[in-house]
Symmetry: none
Subunit: 233 residues, 4 copies
DNA sequence: TATGAATGAGAGTTCATTCAT
DNA sequence: TATGAATGAACTCTCATTCAT
């Protein structure tokens, strides 16, 4: 209670409070995530979330503007996670193709293994809720797409090809594949034990698809086999 | 109004009635389809549908069990359409690969050009509504998948490979691609004029992907180039 | 069921339905009026109104947009009533002064005797509810004021005086008197048996006040200085 | 910090504390006054007041029992102000009529110029809140009325008339006039520069009204019949 | 068959008030 | 004293569904 201690005491208490507040926020958010996944967004009442998080209804509204806000925060977390995962994976590869594969693998493993609920919310529960949610969702996909498209462009450039539109279309296609496969094998049927096999299969498919597009686009007929080797090896 | 005419009159009237009834049913269903696409399933009230279809609310309930039933009927129509389209396309090709390409192209054109609203309902509005709808949706995808998987199996068998699971995964992946590309370029941005380019690109990608999977699965290393030619041509 | 009868039958049924609908509307509105007066606007729940009117909550919302709408409809009815009452009274008098008195008397009797609840809603319950209600309320007072001010102007003009601002101020003052007296003797204490005495008193007061303003404004001295002296000393 | 100083220090500190406490009380009350006027009583949340007064929500509840209490305290202050103003004004006049005029003028100037927010709270925001507030409001008006009625009685008595009821009715009427005029020209439209003109006009009106009532009540005919005729015709 | 007024359970949101620190 | 996170009862409004006509 002396002058010297006062600041410390205050600081410590304040810190603990802040920590606890942050914790509550997280608790509520995670609870919402679970319930949204299990029962669907529109079938989940604020009361359910409150009860499951062991707080009062008002407390939920103390931390979140409204029900939609919960979803938006969850999507934000997902967006952050996606970018993070992709960024790290991209940086970890040496050749463009390696980077590409790493990214795909990381994306799969991250969502599939670690945060399947994020996947469900992104792919199922955030659909048709409101324009704001739709915008957030679209934003995530756009940024994801942008990253993938750029990666594809890099690969194409290695072969002296520059076709932005093709890169975009292919990235959309790849995004769709990943999404659908994930949805099918995580959400619809639970086959998460076969993750590794499926991931491998898909990556092989993508590699072949890319190669094919590459050939199709290359002005000189059937690029030198040396190049191919680089890609394959 | 005379006795002799009565039977005839009744018959004619009855026919007209039946025709009118069928027409009403269709009118309501189509109206619902439009509104579901424009405003979303959960944002569309039965009253809206009734008003737009120029009938009373009760009439909607005369033709459909409930709101969900409208969606299920729409999904049924979509399922029918999908199978029809695919069936015709498959039968029209000679080689497995040709059939495959025809199917992809038909699917694109059918949804893209003719029934984009079916696409929207299948991909967006029927998500997270109820277990029944989810089941119907899943059924459509499963059957679609089944068809595609079988087609892929056929292709694989041509090369002496038999891998049901791989065929399935690849078909899921391809389905996701088509779905996503369609969604992106029809629903999100309207780039339907570039249909042809995009379709071509995707088919090239798919062909390459398939080839790649084929190589990956084939026990003998790197199938003879002669085979490849068969595939490409 | 024959052709000739059909239109009549339909018409009669339709008419009855329409009448019943109108009746329900009125029932709900009157119920709301009573409850708003007895318990206050904000203390009255929609459920209370529904229960008292013997309908479901939804029925209230079938006839009225929302709770505020009930109040606005009531204010509209009041506005109509006020204008009607004043208009008739004005037309019934021969000299401006007579018209004026008739109007005041009519206003008192109408609200006081026939529709005290309208008075309460206008003076008490419609305050501070929302901008829309405030606007409606203000509109009523403005129009009322406008009418009174014009009447005063006419009186002034008879004496060759033209002073719009004075007429306005005086009309505001008179409006305030009437309002307050009504509120005091109808709402606060119930002294409605003394209506006649009070009305008379007030009219005498108003007449004198008007005369006084008239003198004050008239350029040539109309009143004998002696009288004035009497008042002052 | 030494022993000798301690008592003094405590005393000084205690005084400062008390002063600060009083200050906080006033800050919160004034903040509430402002917000009640600007946004209305029921649209003002305790949180808003706390934030605007730069204190915590709990602090508001330390100084005031509840939200209603804030309003009651404000009304008390208004009551005190009104009585003070009127008392001084009454004492400053020599003749009853002069006192009367002084009182009216003082009331106008006080509310109009100095405390328009008190006026708004008294006339608008304290309406329909709760029985307690209603009682307090009524008390203020009653006392105000009482004072005015007594003043009128005095005037009447100068002319040998004794009519308590008439005095009351007239005082209510005058109160309503002042109230309404103030409300109209301060709150609704801001015409405070014309205060002087309006005040004069009203006082002329009141004087005339009083005179008229006086004549009406006096058993012996005081007014010349000629005058009356002029008014009537 | 067709109508559309009526229903009422249910959900989101607010906010005055409390209380542990 | 002061804080502000936590509470939860209360209230408005929605809309799928029903049913008498």
């Amino acid at each position: 209670m002396t002058r010297q201690e006062a600041p410390q005491v205050v600081s410590v208490t304040a810190q603990r409070r802040k920590r606890e507040k942050e914790q509550r926020y997280q608790t509520i958010l995670m609870t919402a995530e679970c319930l949204f996944c299990e029962n669907g967004y529109s079938n989940t009442k604020i009361q359910d979330i409150a009860k499951a998080a062991e707080v009062a209804v008002g407390t939920v509204y103390f931390y979140f503007r409204n029900k939609e806000d919960l979803l938006l925060q969850l999507l934000d977390a997902t967006a952050f996670n996606v970018r993070n995962t992709l960024g790290q994976a991209f940086r970890s590869g040496k050749t463009p193709v390696e980077r590409f594969e790493n990214a795909g693998r990381a994306l799969f493993q991250n969502f599939w293994g670690l945060h399947p609920s994020q996947l469900i919310i992104l792919l199922r529960e955030s659909i048709g809720v409101s324009p704001e949610v739709e915008a957030s969702r679209r934003g995530i996909f756009e940024r994801l797409n942008e990253d993938v498209a750029r990666a594809i462009e890099e690969v194409l450039e290695e072969y002296g090809i520059s076709d932005r539109f093709a890169a975009e279309v292919v990235s959309v296609a790849i995004g769709g594949m990943l999404e659908r496969v994930a949805y099918q094998y995580v959400i619809s049927q639970d086959r998460s034990e076969e993750t590794e096999t499926i991931t491998r299969e898909i990556l092989v498919f993508i590699r072949g698809g890319l190669l094919s597009v590459l050939r199709d686009l290359s002005p000189t007929q059937m690029s030198a086999p040396g190049k191919e080797k680089t890609l394959e090896s």
